[in-house]
Symmetry: C2
Subunit: 232 residues, 2 copies
DNA sequence: GTCTATAAATCGATAGAC
DNA sequence: GTCTATCGATTTATAGAC
């Protein structure tokens, strides 16, 4: 008696979300019409507005459904790491693994839409849609605050500005990692080994190498003569 | 007498391309209507179809206009590096700099649309639009072949598979680097220093760190007990 | 080459019967 | 909660005058 609305809507709602998720990642938000969604989901056109109110609200729910759980897992893992460490700063590798590893585990799930969703999420970070960006920013506020804080404590000698940028770079690498081979025919036929199980160690190695890279490595060895060499 | 079509179209064409470039990166392809473009460009609606034939052809020309020149610069720089090396393998840092450095130089040009275009390009690698992907793949075929080949020779001990993936990761990091602070309000207010001049060394340091990261770094130190430890 | 006017299709959203 | 039918707005693209 505590649930007022959902009477016998066991599948319709989920089917709409699943169909929308697939079509959004395949065609984008704007290019995906509500008719395409209801057609693929096998439900009536009016069902979307009945269950979600509008197309924008549907888009939001597509993200909320999975993102809330993903970030819950991330925070739980960080909680455990910090509890085990007992006050000591965490190793950067653990922090990175807790944040990006959970995402890749979800991305490896090709049977329940996790892979589809993560591709959608990765692309949406740089999506031009204003209200989606706003929504994601709110959904990520806490988890970002926590993980960045952990990285700051873990790497006290690295300027926070630098950590922030490198975290940003890492998200870009992860996004492309998940988009993977089917993202662009650019690498078509070049990947002999696209085994999802190997993606995690591949990416993690790259991310940690980038995160730990010497700060002045590039600036200290400028390419050839390049103007005033006395600067900085 | 060699130019049949362009009689006195000195600005209209360019104005359309400039307006389209800005609107595409701001709203995406689908959400940008031809009326929005012609309105911002100050030209007539029919002008787009007259000059480009269709919206899709316009999109293609927006990319072709700048991408051809960018990849020409990349190849020229690689040619010079290889000529100077006289047969010896290049240093990975030089190769990475030739590919990603040129892109970031273009991205630093905020006055002539270079920054706008590079943001658009970075987002489009994972764009769902099929014909844009196809077009980009063709446009990148030669430059990718050359740079990947140079990296293979530069890092003969690293499996090509691994180099391929890391190059892919680097493109993701670059994409986010260019999308930068205004891409997502996720980091809003967190970046104190978003100086474009510092972005190149920042990114280059990260990329080289990732490219040179030990291959088995992560796999060799699995997190806790994780099933059959005898495998691999 | 540039314009107006409009064709033809598709969009999101809703009203109202069941 | 699901359906049909449709409204009103917007889209790309084009025809034809100038």
């Amino acid at each position: 008696m505590s649930a007022p609305t959902p009477r016998h809507t066991p599948e319709t709602r989920s089917r709409i979300l699943d169909a929308a998720e697939e079509l959004f990642v395949e065609h984008g938000f704007e290019a995906t019409s509500m008719r395409m969604i209801t057609s693929q989901a096998g439900v009536n056109l009016a069902a979307i507005n009945y269950h979600f109110g509008s197309k924008d609200a549907l888009i939001q729910e597509v993200f909320r459904r999975r993102l809330t759980e993903l970030n819950r897992q991330r925070l739980a893992m960080l909680d455990k790491l910090e509890a085990d460490a007992g006050g000591a700063p965490l190793k950067p590798s653990r922090i990175v693994e807790a944040f990006f590893g959970t995402a890749l585990v979800l991305a490896a799930d090709t049977e329940h839409g996790g892979h589809t969703f993560m591709r959608l999420l990765g692309r949406t970070y740089t999506e031009p849609n204003a209200f989606v960006r706003q929504f994601l920013a709110e959904e990520y506020a806490e988890v970002l605050e926590r993980f960045l804080g952990a990285l700051y404590r873990s790497l006290p000698d690295v300027p926070r500005e630098e950590i922030l940028w490198r975290f940003h770079f890492m998200m870009g690498a992860m996004s492309y990692a998940i988009a993977g081979t089917d993202a662009l025919q650019l690498f078509a036929g070049k990947f002999d080994d696209a085994d999802p199980a190997r993606l995690l160690p591949r990416l993690m190695s790259f991310l940690l190498g980038g995160l730990r890279a010497p700060l002045a490595e590039y600036a200290a060895r400028p390419a050839g003569r390049r103007g005033r060499s006395a600067a900085a």
